[in-house]
């Protein structure tokens, strides 16, 4: 059965989508095209001399061992952040979806961290984890753990993962909670009457019915880790020690903004863009088949 709104002419629908098109063109396609063009150029910081070098920036980039290290770091970092922020977000949402006294207050508190800017979140955690100053760092050291994120790459990675997860949990929590509340109570009650225990009800009914939300969040979270964690890494570790927390997006920032190598940085962002587009396309093509709407 076809059920769509019909417009009598073509003018009105075109006019209606125009604002959205304009926004996409100005804020997405135009900068993306600029980045692509810039990646074929060699230019000094002030833009005083420009030379077209075709793929030279890409060739140099692919010969840099640090670039491959950054790819590996990004994969580890995004897997850890996406996994922990999604599972913890879901866990909290399930807990907050029950009828207990003062639930609204809990929910509000759980949402608040999302309002904290990533760089600020980093500073808060630095205060707690700074060796010699932070209370958590001191507690760890007292218990015989030589906590030292300025020199130990694993510790630095743990630190940025904690901050990124903490910052993202609220967002996931909010969407999971909305998703949970949209699941009809009658279905769950029917299962309960049939004798299904809570765990079983969760895995066989709630989790599958939540899959559109989960799918959406997986994509959003991966985009988040790939792009929005820049501020966290910059404030917490500066990509160090010894490149242990240098992700792809942080390297784009480092080379472009700190190193003022705009061509090389643009080449990296083009590759990064291709990776994220491919990843998203893959998920829509294959993973979405498992989603129940």
């Amino acid at each position: 059965m076809e059920n769509r709104a019909l417009f009598s002419g073509k003018l009105l629908p075109c006019l209606l989508i125009l604002p959205q098109l304009a926004v996409s063109l100005i804020f997405f396609y135009w900068p993306a095209a600029q980045a692509l063009w810039q990646s074929f150029l060699v230019q000094d910081a002030f833009g005083l001399s420009t030379e077209f070098v075709r793929f030279e920036n890409y060739v140099i980039l692919l010969q840099t061992p640090e670039y491959y290290q950054a790819i590996g770091i990004t994969l580890i970092f995004s897997a850890l952040v996406a996994f922990f922020s999604l599972t913890l977000g879901l866990l909290l949402a399930v807990m907050a979806n029950r009828n207990i006294r003062g639930i609204q207050i809990y929910r509000t508190f759980l949402i608040v961290p999302y309002a904290v800017a990533p760089a600020v979140a980093s500073v808060l955690f630095i205060f707690m984890f700074q060796p010699g100053l932070g209370m958590i760092a001191r507690a760890l050291q007292r218990n015989g753990i030589d906590w030292n994120p300025v020199l130990n790459g694993t510790h630095a990675m743990i630190l940025v993962v904690i901050v990124a997860v903490w910052n993202q949990i609220s967002y996931n929590f909010l969407f999971f909670l909305a998703g949970l509340q949209a699941i009809p109570k009658s279905v769950i009650e029917a299962a309960a009457i049939d004798g299904a225990r809570p765990m079983r009800r969760f895995w066989t009914i709630v989790f599958p019915l939540l899959s559109p939300t989960t799918f959406f969040l997986v994509i959003v979270n991966i985009t988040y880790v790939f792009f929005n964690t820049l501020g966290i890494i910059d404030t917490a570790t500066g990509g160090g020690p010894n490149g242990a927390t240098q992700t792809l997006v942080y390297k784009v920032f480092q080379d472009g903004k700190v190193g003022t190598d705009l061509g090389g940085s643009a080449a990296q962002s083009v590759i990064l863009m291709v990776i994220v587009v491919a990843l998203t396309a893959f998920q829509f093509r294959y993973v979405e088949k498992k989603v129940h709407y």
Binding site: L48, S49, I60, G132, V150, L151, P241, N242, V258, D261
Partner: protein, 437 residues
């Protein structure tokens, strides 16, 4: 608001508008990165200058960190909207200098505008950093400091150490002794590459790179992976194992470890002084950086850190006249003496240094003379005049990465320094490629 009130308000507005002087005041934007008390100094300087004459108005704007100011300036220049004056940190010097069409050399501007300007009246250790190899001053030194060793005297006494260490072997030995009372840190430093590579090389009169550390050309090649550099790093790697030396990160975020009493020997900028004075609850002093006594001619002289003021190209003659007048105003001896005494930054003219000395200020505050004694210890050589490497901001990160790898025991000191040199050289070639030909 009632109509009557509105008309009163409108009348006041009109009167105020008419009250502004009839002749045009030339406004000059000054972008800077000074925070806290040093921001007050910037504002006071601008206000004093604006009050001293009526033709020009300096408008200072805080733009964030040093790197932020540089990036904002670059973006503004690309958009055709650069400020008149930009404060750029010392490691951004090569980037600015390479941008020939974007900057106006200070000495050229002063001459064109007929301001009295004698480069010889400035301290060579300071202006050398910002001059061409021919001695032409490109930017105007604003806030300069050098590196000194801060010493916790109470901790030394507790560990039975008679006097602050003068040489590296003494530093290593003292750090080991201090380990008993300070198990998490005997000796440490901020700005690791500034201390262990840049200052270390100048202080021992050895090159960081060829072509007079890059001052003579962008085709410079790094060469700080010598046995001397390896010896220093190997010693620190050894001490790091039990935290007799403990790494404090790439910038100055670790400085609190000195004032809190955690690290009794701590090398960082001399501009740390106001902070130590306000926060250290123990006897303290500052002494010159250590050196290896077996190196011929060491100690040589130290180099500066800090920032200078760059004048941007493409401004009107009136703006340049205003900036030139402002720089003359800044060079005034009494003003330099005042700036030195309130901010802890170094005076830039010889006259100001002499005057401060004569006033007996250093008798009460000997710490503030330590960096000046280091900088003027000997006539600067081509190894100790300064350095000019393209992409230096990011280069420091790359060098730090390799030093971190050595300290974490992932690489030998030699491998780390070899890698720092070869990765740095790649960056220099990349910079050479992008520089305007």
């Amino acid at each position: 608001m009632s109509l009557r009130h509105f008309s009163t308000a409108a009348a006041i507005t009109v009167t105020l508008a008419l009250a502004t002087p009839a002749h045009a005041v030339t406004e000059i934007q000054w972008w800077h990165a000074m925070t806290g008390p040093n921001n007050d100094v910037v504002v006071k300087l601008a206000n004093d200058f604006n009050a001293s004459q009526s033709d020009y108005r300096i408008v200072p704007t805080f733009k964030g960190s040093y790197a932020d100011v540089l990036n904002a300036g670059i973006a503004a220049f690309r958009a055709g909207n650069a400020p008149g004056i930009m404060q750029v940190f010392e490691v951004g010097t090569a980037t600015m200098m390479a941008a020939k069409g974007a900057i106006k050399p200070v000495s050229e501007m002063m001459k064109e505008q007929g301001e009295a300007f004698d480069p010889k009246s400035y301290l060579p250790a300071i202006t050398g950093y910002y001059s061409t190899s021919k001695g032409e001053m490109l930017s105007f030194p604003f806030n300069s400091s050098s590196m000194v060793m801060w010493v916790n005297l109470d901790a030394l006494k507790q560990a039975d150490i008679a006097a602050p260490p003068k040489t590296w072997p003494e530093v290593f030995a003292d750090a080991r002794k201090l380990h008993a009372t300070h198990p998490t840190c005997g000796y440490s430093l901020s700005w690791i590459t500034w201390g262990l590579i840049e200052q270390f090389s100048a202080w021992h009169n050895v090159p960081i790179g060829t072509r007079a550390n890059g001052l003579d050309g962008f085709d410079t090649v790094l060469e700080f992976n010598t046995p001397l550099d390896i010896k220093l790093l190997e010693n620190l790697v050894e001490l790091q194992k039990d935290k007799s030396f403990d790494y404090s990160g790439r910038t100055n975020t670790g400085e609190g470890r000195f004032t809190s009493g955690e690290c009794p020997l701590y090398m960082t900028s001399s501009a740390f002084y106001p902070n130590v004075k306000a926060n250290a609850k123990f006897g303290y002093t500052a002494v010159p950086m250590p050196y290896f006594p077996d190196v011929n001619g060491a100690p040589q002289n130290s180099i500066i850190g800090g920032a200078s003021l760059w004048v941007m190209a493409g401004k009107t003659a009136a703006e340049y006249k205003g900036i030139a007048t402002f720089f003359t105003f800044l060079s005034d001896t009494d003003r330099q003496v005042y700036l030195h005494e309130v901010s802890g930054y170094l005076p830039i003219t010889k006259a100001a240094y002499e005057k401060t000395k004569a006033s007996g200020f250093y008798k009460d505050t000997p710490i503030l003379e330590v960096p000046l004694r280091e900088l003027t210890n000997k006539e600067p050589t081509e190894n100790s005049r300064g350095l000019r490497f393209g992409g230096m901001v990011q280069m420091r990160d790359v060098w730090s990465e390799e030093i971190e790898a050595a300290l974490a025991g992932k690489k030998s000191a030699k491998d780390a320094l070899d890698a720092a040199v070869s990765r740095g050289n790649q960056m220099l070639r990349q910079f050479e490629r992008t520089v305007a030909k």
